[in-house]
């Protein structure tokens, strides 16, 4: 179809309701996608930090026996290959951790366990190594955070679902807009058909308009979404305490490309709807 066919009325109408609907669905999709991407980053951060961390505790009320067992554990750890690092938390450090919760109690008199933090260890293998030591407990840090990671994964799934639903809604809206344009511009399109225009040429005319409106809507949605995401990111960053927005550079690129994909999806959906509808004509 030659460019000057773009003079047709359906090409020149201003973006209307369809563009606004596209903006709304694009905004929803981008917010949901941003949440999914941020949660993926958070889940990776948490699981990455804890997956290989193991805590060995020597729980014994007898201080002498406890220290002897702890020495034995440290000695065995030295002999185990493949361990990243092993850090024995001093009793002063352990007491300092507990002290704020023990109002008025002499923490030096509490039978606190000896804590040994390991990085890069395998919990099952370590548990086997210390099986003959009765007061030694081996715990994988990741196992304790498992429910949290599963919760994050579930929330990520919900966010992805919302994003996909918004994208599907955009496609359906585009199909409805295409059918409406076909009905509205029926007389003009009938003339084009009679003059020998193919279904594809006619569908390009309508999808050209839909692509333009979808582009306008996606741009509005993207602008609004970026504003919201950046505002939330700055609020999270202001909290501090190691919490970050967790949107990587690739996540930002993904967010910027999603509206383009949304426009493509809308155009394809409209094209398909138009070709099916035009096939009903004589």
């Amino acid at each position: 179809m030659k460019p000057r066919l773009a003079l047709l009325a359906l090409q020149r109408q201003r973006p209307g309701t369809f563009a606004l609907l596209m903006a709304a669905t694009c905004l929803l999709m981008l917010l949901a996608a941003a949440m999914a991407l941020a949660l993926r980053g958070a889940a990776r951060q948490v699981s990455g930090a804890t997956a290989t961390r193991v805590l060995v505790q020597v729980v014994d009320a007898n201080p002498d026996r406890r220290d002897a067992t702890a020495d034995e554990v440290m000695a065995r750890l030295d002999r185990i290959h493949g361990l990243g690092s092993a850090h024995r938390v001093s009793m002063e450090q352990a007491q300092a951790l507990v002290a704020p919760y023990m109002d008025g109690v002499q923490v030096s008199q509490l039978p606190l366990p000896v804590l040994i933090e390991l990085d890069g260890g395998d919990r099952a293998r370590l548990a086997r190594s210390f099986a003959d030591l009765p007061h030694v407990q081996v715990t994988a840090a990741g196992a304790e955070l498992g429910p949290l990671i599963r919760l994050i994964d579930a929330l990520r799934g919900v966010s992805l679902g919302i994003a996909l639903t918004a994208a599907a809604a955009s496609g359906l809206i585009a199909m409805l807009a295409a059918r409406a344009a076909l009905a509205r511009e029926g007389p003009t399109l009938n003339i084009l058909h009679a003059l020998g225009a193919t279904d594809r040429q006619i569908s390009y005319l309508v999808t050209g308009k839909i692509a333009r409106d979808a582009g306008v809507g996606a741009a509005i949605g993207l602008g609004a979404a970026l504003l919201i995401i950046l505002t939330i990111a700055s609020r999270i960053a202001a909290i501090g305490a190691g919490i970050s927005p967790a949107l990587s550079a690739s996540a930002w690129v993904t967010l910027l490309l999603l509206p383009v994909g949304l426009v493509g999806l809308a155009v394809l959906a409209a094209q398909a709807a138009l070709l099916v509808a035009l096939r009903q004509a004589p």
Binding site: P3, L5, R12, T188, H193, A194
Partner: protein
Amino acid sequence: MAYANHGRRQAASIALPFKCFTWLALPCHAVVNRIFRGAKRTTMAGIVHFDNVGLRYGTGAETLAGLSFTLMPGSFHFLTGASGAGKTSLINLITLAQRPSRGIVSLFGEDTAGLPRNRLPAIRRRIGVVYQDFRLIPQLSAFDNVALPLRISGMAERDIGSRVEELLDWVGLAPRASAKPATLSGGEQQRVAIARAVITHPELIVADEPTGNVDPDMAARLLHLLEVMNRQGTTVLIATHDVHLLRQMPGANIMRLAKGRIDDPTGSVRFPPRESVS
């Protein structure tokens, strides 16, 4: 029944002198020859062939029934009949705007019922249609309306301009090239519609009441325009119930429709037309 005619031989017997219209800037034959140079013409037995064709809307009675006829290449036909006789329905079948309920409609030697949908546009491009209500696109200028078939057929933009301008000049509308249809008179719109119908050198021109909206003088001019094209080998079918129009083409074939059937089984040339035609 075959409505066969041979336009070139027939043209020699046309009583009207071959003269140019006052709104033509150049001698008709020279302009037409130049505009339609290189136009391909079909040499098949029949450019339009109907075999026992019927058309029914919904579950009602047949609007058209048992139509069988052939339009030969280069022939000139009038299609007459009272209002509601089925002229427009017949034209819709020929222009592929509708499909028959039964029977065979062959265009340019091909049975249209068996053609895949993607081949229909190519057939439509071989037919120029002038509608009774013009069907110009209101948002486009006269120039762009006339250029539309060329753009649809994919012609390069650089080749379109001169061709459209020449044709607009030929129909006397060069000064109104940028005017929108709403600002044109009925006759001017009719001429734009005719220019649009002929710009692609169609092998068949079908006109539905082409003079229904114009004064007698303009009607004569438009008829002469179609006559000139017929001289170039284009097959012409004009649906009309205007007796005066029929009188101006004494050598033309006349098909008369009555209640959806062809009324005259002989298919012979009727002149002067029967008064009942009107």
